[in-house]
Symmetry: C2
Amino acid sequence: MKVGILTIGNELISGKTPDTNSSFIARQLHAQGWQTSVIMSVPDDEDAIKTGLNHIMSLSGAVVVTGGLGPTADDITTSATARAFGLGIYTDQAALKHIRDRFEKFHLKWTANNEKQAHVPEGAETIKNPVGMAWGYSLKRDGKIIAVVPGVPSEVKRMVTEGIIPILRKEFKDAAGHVESRTIKLSGITEANVDQVLADVDFGSLGVNIGFYPNFPEIQIVLTAIASTEKDARKRTTAAHERVSERLKQYIFAYDQDTLEGIVAGVLTDKNLTLAVAESCTGGLITDRLTDVPGSSAFLERGVIAYSNNCKADLLGVPQDVLREFGAVSEKTAIFMAEGVRKLGKCNLGLSTTGIAGPAGGTAEKPVGTVFIALADGTRTFCRNYTFRWDRRRNKTMMSQAALMLLKRYLAGELEHER
Amino acid sequence: MKVGILTIGNELISGKTPDTNSSFIARQLHAQGWQTSVIMSVPDDEDAIKTGLNHIMSLSGAVVVTGGLGPTADDITTSATARAFGLGIYTDQAALKHIRDRFEKFHLKWTANNEKQAHVPEGAETIKNPVGMAWGYSLKRDGKIIAVVPGVPSEVKRMVTEGIIPILRKEFKDAAGHVESRTIKLSGITEANVDQVLADVDFGSLGVNIGFYPNFPEIQIVLTAIASTEKDARKRTTAAHERVSERLKQYIFAYDQDTLEGIVAGVLTDKNLTLAVAESCTGGLITDRLTDVPGSSAFLERGVIAYSNNCKADLLGVPQDVLREFGAVSEKTAIFMAEGVRKLGKCNLGLSTTGIAGPAGGTAEKPVGTVFIALADGTRTFCRNYTFRWDRRRNKTMMSQAALMLLKRYLAGELEHER
């Protein structure tokens, strides 16, 4: 089955906002074994929307539309869609109630233009919005499905996977078999290396489609099998998964929706371990990531952003002569920081980073991107160093990723046989 | 003048590679005062390319095409374009020499399929590629321009700005005027409220186009004026800017490429002030944002992520009876944290947050999203509280934004007349 994608918004057309929804939606369609016919962006303009819709429908069995469902005057997707098919518009009472409830819950001031967000073309079925205001809807015209959701990326992610994909699967059930999809997340390896390591594996003969998606700082491998039974689809995906694991085990940190910080947080909580973190170059990004996990107060006792040498010395106990002799960016300093913050927080584990995020501060010996990462458990202290080659923000991200990977591997007992 | 954009490639259509070229090209067109009619991505398929080209040309005076000029069998953009207009193909000798020279320079092994990269439709003029292999070309059909370049983003950047824009400017010189664009960034107000506050301002009569772009946690207002002289375009934008400032001054924190953390960092550095931060609910996000600014070690002395009550008490000096009586999430605790971290770091300023990011931990009195933010300068301590209504990550983001806004307003002297 062919599905087209139409994203609507002046901000896309002016280049102000990159259209991230299209590639997300295309990947979801691809994972179902469907083909994307065309991806199109048009301005918030009735003629442009109508012309775009007609063009895409001439090439596709369905079209996924995002954007232009907000309260303001330039949000005209629903009226343009209704007019394109000669339909009237009604206010969906359940959608309206959802919006009014959100206004009440969040103590927002109601203005009349918000009712517009509950407008739906006649004959459409609504698609619930679990994370935002406006609901979406799907229409069937001439045997083709038109499904419309708001353009906010977080809402698109939920409403496409939970709303639109199930609708399309039901409507076009002969087109798709049972689909099993698995995402394998890797860190510490490049896309080109993944490609090379797996080059001689014949995934086609396993009946599995493989895709690589760099998603900084991770690489994602997506395995998709389509088969006549669910069991067979799962069996194929599992076989392919085993082939990937055999060759890339040490880089794999999570599957599907799991995150690195989520995995680490889960193990720390389950094992009843406490953690204190001392960050220099990562500037709080490690604890920011860990505290994105609900319930992280169960294991995260404290963090110290030791941006000055004073802080490293007076709070974490890094000796002044170590700072003088080896420098703030050194293995010795990282080790003292990890051990010091562990003691300060009376925790099971202490994790530290010290490095040079850039763009300034590099030397021949310690270039921009250098980082020392240490992990102390009271008995042993592990230290690793890396040199990353990105800009400041991406260096910080890679450094936080490497620190969380070290912690993850420690918790999995994989550092035992290392130093 | 209207210009369409066509990006060609199976990797775009499968969602494997996000299409970053389109928004870059759209921005370049917008900066010339031209309107993008439509942005479209199609697979490496002759029918899809021809159909896409025809559709875009029916809506536009010109079309910019990227992708499908490589050496492999699936690169068919040139043959599809030539056939769409009934043209033959020739090998451009200058383009071929450029490719052969690069092979020699980089010691690459020549294979016959590389000659394909010098194929050009009859009647086309070539566009040089200063950073890659294949040249591009432009064609004129029925008074409309079709300009084609390879899809590699670094090549697109150079060839669009240095090759295509000059061609279009020459062809459509009456169409373009001088363009002046200004982005105003606001925080602490919703898009709907911005819309309402500005509803009765007639920007059209000022000769200015206005757009609102929510860019969480900010709102951006973009003013664009097109006039026959640069001076006139700037005058119009400035007049519109004044109308926005009159009504929304207290929400404005930056312009154009500036960020909130960048503005705050600049003022702290200029005034030679030092800062220590104590974060509970924001978990390090404030220091993470501040340390994204190069040179932040000039003002950021340290941060403390006080996730446990122990840390609030032993490191920041929040009295145990305050924690017991008022709770960790309270005005009193926030004030003690700000004053405590300021003293601990021997800094000019101490900034603190304590709150409930969610999804659990809320009560009737202090619901999820509640935050207390305090700022101490040794003489006075300011405290604000807010209740945000988002998910955990977005609550953290809004809380960090509110804390940085408080700091920014303090530094601008705007809190003097408040409590």
